[in-house]
Amino acid sequence: MSDIAIKLENISKLYRLGEIGTGTLSHDLNRWWHRVKGKDDPYAKLGEENNRESKGGDWVWAIKDVSFEVKQGEVLGIIGKNGAGKSTLLKILSRVTAPTTGTIKAKGRIASLLEVGTGFHPELTGRENIFLNGAILGMTKAEIRKKFDEIVAFSGVERYIDTPVKRYSSGMYVRLAFAVAAHLESEILIVDEVLAVGDADFQKKCMGKMGEISNKEGRTVLFVSHNISALRSLCNRGMLLNNGKVVLVDDTDVAVSEYLRFDDTLTSMELEHRTDRLGNQLFKFRGVEFYNKDGEQVSETISCDYLRVRIYATCDSSIDCSKIIFGFNLLNQYDEVVLAYNSDEMGAFNFSNDKGYFEIVIPNLYLRANTYSIKLLAFYKSTRAEDTLDIIEKATRITVLNGDLWEVGNINRNGAYSIFPGQFIF
């Protein structure tokens, strides 16, 4: 007896780029004519792999030849950077759109949660919307009735259940919507990043419920998220997608670290080709790398650890490299600067083209666990706008993992701010 719940074979999806609309009638006729003559689709040939940065034909494969299997009761996390094909895959799995090629076979009902509150009608009461939304998600009236009290209790909006949802606060709205979704009874559940709803308390509840669904009820779950910690705690396997192709399917930790490594290398390699920068580029940033205290290249570090940042750049011979004012900013997810090094405060900037890079040594990175982005700035002689050489926002990212600054065996909390040495005196 095989215990495979869902099986994908060579799933591909072709999308057309650009304007769809004008001129499609002639394309359609042309395609139809080719088909009548027994030839291939004249436009499908142009399809190439999905890469946002490269230019090419009008057609792209959003995903190409994706094949994998998910066992019964397995929780598979799907990761990949934006545009890797995660959403397309989810759309095909949830039958919102059909694949261009390939087949999917599944055992049991598939319910998809690409959004919470699909089909909620503002004029209807909470009660009516529970039934409507539940039915849209594939439950029968009898099933919803059976779970109704549980749904209401979970959402915590008992008092408002007979009030139209347009009177709800947005928090109440998503709580109710998630509550319906969480009580679906399908054998296979497909979840997109919908966990980021409600306040912190409710998020915790959602995560708990998700864990319960996947671990205790033994259902098969396909879960897409950028939230690495959620993926780590919920999934037992991870699949990494890149440019519409499966890179690997492995243990969650392996897949996550591969994703982090992979993602960051790509960004730093692309830095010199990026065009979203300011300045005349007489001095130009080309790449950023991070090293740990053992001299190994890393993409993540531990809170309060040693970190060396290497910045590759080139300086045009027409300017005096020692007159450059360099700035290095570390920003949290709210785009607030949490750390800044400025060469005009710290002394001369003796960059040399021969070496091609310079480094910043941070003996202790006193920041709480989070992902931070890096902004690089270079000015010539003054920091006025017209003297800008090169400014690049979000040049790369660095993931800081939880550390133990106080050395008492407690993991420090996450946060988007610093954690400094200090102590209580009693």
């Binding site: 007896m1 095989s2 495979i4 099986k7 999308y15 057309r16 769809i20 609309g21 499609t24 009638l25 759309k91 095909i92 799995l93 949830s94 039958r95 919102v96 759109t97 059909a98 694949p99 261009t100 090629t101 390939g102 087949t103 999917i104 076979k105 599944a106 055992k107 049991g108 009902r109 598939i110 998809s112 690409l114 959004e115 699909t118 089909g119 009608h121 004029e123 209807l124 009516e128 039934f131 409507l132 039915a135 849209i136 998600l137 594939g138 029968t140 009236k141 139209p164």
Partner: protein, 285 residues
């Protein structure tokens, strides 16, 4: 071993489905959703209104009055010898059921793109729910028609009488709905890609009303050209309806059979096209 496992799959997603794979069984499974959509349409319609469902009566009453003035008094079109109010009210009630069904179903994909983009259910549920909602609306409007009819029969000495064709009443109601559904799904399937059709439909439906004996009886057209008007499948439906309840006009078996057959042909063609489009419309909408 392998072949034994293959049989366990109960769901298969493929790029294209066969022309006759209509999945009507699945539609049946989702019947609860159909009725919830109907309920939603109703509740949403009369929430925060004072008159509520009475609004459903305002439209046929005002239209009838307008027709009475324009076509009855000014143009002085004949009404097959029945009181003009009844004549127009019958026409307006049937026509508005058909045209509402058609316009609403033709918007299926464009109006529901946000739901369709997020979750799967048989898309046919939406047009079906529209037909059912409109049928309830028709029921309310027919109550009005029958009350006016009863008044004329009881309190005036007009020559109104039921004929045997009353037996066809349920068939007529179903034909009106299915014709609207069939045409509606054809238009909805095509408008996902070619939005032009939406504009064509919005005034086309007004023109179509004049090509249907709504404001005039079929007998007004000369024998020679009558068949042209009868090419419109709705003609026989509306004529038969008036013949059944008002005893006006005549019943033409040929026209009626033609209308019956074309309704089902349109419906089947419509569902096949719809079924083909629903799988990938999210890419073109």
């Amino acid at each position: 071993m392998m072949s034994a496992n293959e049989t366990h799959w109960n769901l298969e997603i493929k790029p294209k489905s066969g022309i006759l794979e209509l999945n009507l069984k699945e539609v049946w499974h989702y019947r609860d959703l159909l009725f919830l959509f109907v309920k939603r349409d109703f509740v949403a319609f009369y929430k925060q209104t004072i008159l509520g469902p009475i609004w459903f009566l305002v439209q046929p009453i005002l239209t009838t009055i307008m027709f009475l003035l324009v076509f009855g008094r000014i143009a002085q079109l004949p009404t097959d010898g029945v009181p003009a109010i009844l004549f127009y009210l019958a026409g307006v009630t049937c026509w508005s059921y058909f045209s509402e069904s058609l316009t609403k179903t033709s918007e299926t994909f464009t109006a529901n793109a946000s739901i369709f983009g997020k979750v799967y259910f048989p898309r046919l549920i939406i047009p079906l729910s529209i037909i059912v909602s409109n049928m309830i609306r028709l029921g309310i409007q027919l109550l009005l028609f029958f009350s006016v009819l009863a008044y004329y029969m009881l309190f005036t000495d007009s020559n109104i009488h039921f004929t045997w064709a009353v037996a066809l009443f349920p068939v007529l109601i179903i034909m009106m709905g299915l014709l609207g559904l069939g045409l509606g799904v054809i238009f909805s399937s095509l408008t996902t890609k070619y939005r032009d059709l939406r504009f064509l439909l919005s005034f086309g439906i007004q023109l179509l009303m004049y090509a249907t004996p709504v404001v005039y009886p079929l007998s007004l057209a000369s024998e020679k050209y009558r068949w042209i008007i009868a090419l419109n499948p709705f003609t026989a439906i509306i004529e038969t309806f008036r013949f059944a309840f008002l005893g006006a006009g005549s019943f033409n078996a040929t026209y009626f059979t033609y209308s019956f057959i074309s309704t089902f042909v349109i419906l089947i063609v419509g569902i096949i096209i719809f079924n083909k489009v629903e799988k990938s419309f999210m890419d073109t909408v």
